[in-house]
Symmetry: C2
Subunit: 515 residues, 2 copies
């Protein structure tokens, strides 16, 4: 009954005054379309003004800030200070390049011949990035109180140049009607404005159910803002315009148990360590004799690496670890890809089935395992990452040891934002994020920063691979500071420069904090 009551109230207004619908995305009706990037429309400002009015309205004295809650609200200018409360792990620096140079602004700009030039170049590039990624569907819209109108507020979508019935709405629509109802007069069929009026409520009500919207201009990944007005009230809603997403499904058979060779490819990159690589391959073959192994090789004098189910790719000399990772992953055709370093060794604890199982049974896109040193020390390298608004100087990147939650049903597994360099992922997801081929020696963290917000990442401590080397790994507790420094300072200044540039320019950070 309540539903009916509302309907009638709504329609008295409507029939009294007629309904006007129009959309605000003005463009020529010719077949020519303007695809210059644009940030918003007059409507956007209108929405924001309405919204501001709502806030500013109402004056009362006597209120008391709750510090504990208020302090949790983000400001739009993060400050570049290391987190005092965090404790320090030995070696953890290693995974956070230039952690000793938190202020990327300073570090990058002071070494740059033209600081002002590069700053404005970055601002310019960021601006066009924002324009390209802008969507009206992200604009804040507020539903007015006591609107006589009933309309969808989200979930309306139309395929490019296709037609839909405005769903679930007894009072909204655009452009045309799929049927005409007796005693209803319609103006503007097939146009950007349509006016419906009738002396008969029920007839108007029925007519409103036949209103259709047709998308006429194809502008991918955008949305059309429909404005709906009757006297004293205006409402907005968004129709998303886009192709139906085409799925990427893998035909990997449907056995009872997971057939690892059919659904997993092992990818690695080698340099100066053919002996280690051979040990890795031999250890894999003990447990997975037919799984495909893709090897990216940037040695100066490559040696043949042959054998069944082995694919050997030869790169220009010294292209680096992450160009190699990107190459290897680009060649994978199975549903999942496992990343291993060339000095890892499979053991009875290296159960790939467990990784497949959690990826199959959860929404995780990528799951990391654990790496055991010869010393017996085992690391999972679980970290959380967050990005804080920093205004026009750039944002702040915060990295902390730890994880978000334990995963229900998988007591050894947690949700995190960054994991160790022994992980299995959905191939198409890992390919989408990719590894930055500019990074020669370090780039593990960079991958997880690029994955932020697009990959759902887990870490399981009960899937373990052994590490043959005792050098070059951060979690090796027996590692001497001497060796570590030796490695660290063996990096060229250019190499460090690239990392600072990636953080400052590519990702637009001004600051980085970590343990």
């Amino acid at each position: 009954m309540r539903a009916r009551y509302k309907k009638v109230v709504g329609l008295i207004l409507v029939s009294g005054l007629a309904v006007t619908l129009f959309h605000t995305w003005s463009h020529s009706t010719s077949s020519e379309v303007d695809i210059q990037p644009r940030l918003g429309t007059p409507l956007k400002e209108l929405l924001q003004r309405i919204h501001r009015d709502n806030i500013s309205d109402s004056q009362v004295d006597g209120y008391h800030i709750k510090e504990d809650v208020a302090c949790r609200l983000g400001q739009n200018a993060c400050v570049c200070v290391a987190d005092k409360e965090t404790f320090h792990l030995p070696m953890s620096d290693w995974f956070f390049p230039r952690v000793w140079a938190h202020n990327l602004d300073l570090t990058f700009l002071q070494s740059h011949p033209d600081p002002e030039g590069v700053k404005s170049h970055r601002a310019q590039e960021y601006n066009s990035f924002k324009k390209r990624s802008y969507s009206p569907a992200d604009v804040l819209i507020v539903a007015e109180a006591n609107s006589p109108l009933q309309y969808p507020t989200q979930g309306v979508e139309v395929r490019p140049l296709k037609t839909i019935i405005i769903p679930g709405s007894a009072s909204l629509g655009t452009f045309d009607v799929a049927a005409t109802v007796d005693k209803v007069s319609i103006e503007g069929e097939g146009q950007k404005h349509i006016v419906l009026s009738s002396p008969l409520l029920s007839a108007l009500n029925r007519q409103l159910q036949f209103v259709t919207y047709t998308n006429t201009v194809f502008h991918p990944k955008t949305a059309d803002t429909v404005q709906f007005a009757t006297e004293g009230y205006q409402s907005f809603f968004i129709i998303k315009v886009g192709h139906k997403p085409v799925p990427t499904l893998y035909n990997s058979g449907y056995q009872q148990e997971y057939n690892i060779s059919a659904i997993v490819t092992i990818a690695t990159k080698t340099f100066l360590r053919y002996d280690k690589l051979k040990d890795l391959i031999d250890s894999i073959r003990q447990y997975y004799p037919t799984v495909t192994i893709v090897i990216a090789d940037d040695n100066e004098h490559p040696q043949p690496v042959t054998g069944p189910h082995i694919e050997h790719y030869i790169m220009p000399f010294g292209k680096g670890w992450f160009a190699g990772r990107n190459l290897a992953v680009s060649q994978v055709t199975t549903k999942y890809v496992l990343w291993v370093d060339d000095d890892f060794i499979f053991s009875t604890n290296t159960k790939l089935e467990k990784m497949v199982d959690i990826l199959e049974r959860t929404t995780l896109d990528l799951v990391g395992g654990a790496v055991r040193e010869v010393t017996g020390y085992t690391a999972t390298y679980r970290h959380t990452i967050s990005v804080e608004d920093g205004g026009k100087e750039g944002d702040c990147l915060h990295i902390r040891n730890g994880y978000h939650h334990i995963i229900k049903g998988f007591p050894s597994c947690v949700v995190a934002d960054a994991v160790i360099n022994f992980f299995m992922g959905r191939t198409e997801k890992v390919q989408q994020v990719g590894f930055n081929p500019r990074l020669a020696h370090r780039g593990h963290l960079e991958f997880f920063i690029d994955a932020l917000g697009s990959l759902h990442i887990g870490s399981c401590s009960n899937i373990i691979v052994n590490h043959a080397s005792k050098i070059h790994l951060p979690w090796s507790k027996t590692e001497s500071q001497k060796k570590y420094e030796k490695f660290r300072y063996s990096l060229s200044p250019d190499d460090n420069k690239i990392h600072t540039e990636v953080f400052y320019f590519k990702n637009r950070f001004k600051c980085m904090t970590s343990h």
Copy 2:
């Protein structure tokens, strides 16, 4: 004034009855989180029921279907018939593998040892794909008429585990308050239900502006549904939970003219045609002496390809064109990548600056050029692609010659869904879509199907490269049918089988229509 009036009406109800806010995403308060894929919550059904009620309500007779409009409404079961109205282009078959086998269901399943098994496997894989990509932010929500409550309907977003002020809302929020107001009593601070009540409207109003929402469970790319109730009315809105996207910016300098060598890399793949490759490189060097050229090579007996700014990658023998494309693109570090075949020849008409210019000045992600045959015939291969719902048997793929619109300010350029195999794209976008490495000989169309909905694609007829060969290309008008057939039937049955499988299984099509 109207704003104030609404506010008061809204708040009379509110203060009379108190406001209850709670969210419907129930979970344990422990640090353990269930990330099994789930499609929707009880709320989803509730929303849909409300929505159905709105439609079913109202009974009138006497209405007349408008055939011309009604026929434009999509059904949920596309039929597999070729479009009668389209005309036939010679050779266009070539670009649409197995165009002579429209019905993929039949073609794939009849050749499969276990049709039922593979069908259910596809259904299962599609189901988990949908579960992984489900978001409450896509659920249809309808704003009830005459609600006394004012609330945001879209655009509210919170970072994982962070806190926000419920924006623009005089009457909505969850969990806690950033400040307390005199004469307002609050129950449930810091909990999933909060009740605010006050004898004083203005005080309650002020209090409502301090309501905060804190995200407590991190579940990437999802959204929290907040339900808001006062007597007789309930409203819903969505808070998106997600990391702030990290941009990918390229530091390619900021000259007045475009510095092609700094912002473009040329990528190609070679097989059995080192002579052609040499001609291509020589022609490029006439116009762009320092642009980087990345070459993927899957010859059985690779020959060295050297020279400044040349990167030569050697693949396992016969990996195929699209594994090669994916490899080459994976190594690019510049802002843009240009794809060329190894038998193309640059001329004075091959102005890469024009491609860069349109990519810089529009929202296009990729722009195709034109290829001129030795006969003088020039082709742009412009097509539109659309996907139509086909229910549980799979969807329909429709390919047509033509384009969507001419691009304002670029009279030689149009918006299309597929272009010729001479194109420039934003490197990170082309890498995200990728080329299917399973496809050995053909896969051009497949790339644009995978790009559907994620890449914004254009085509310009005034940027022209020459084609050295007279064989193996579809638009070569002098091509004899004999040579064409020879090429076509040289493809192995396995190769054709893979294409059918890609369309049927990976992309889940049951049908394909084209010119």
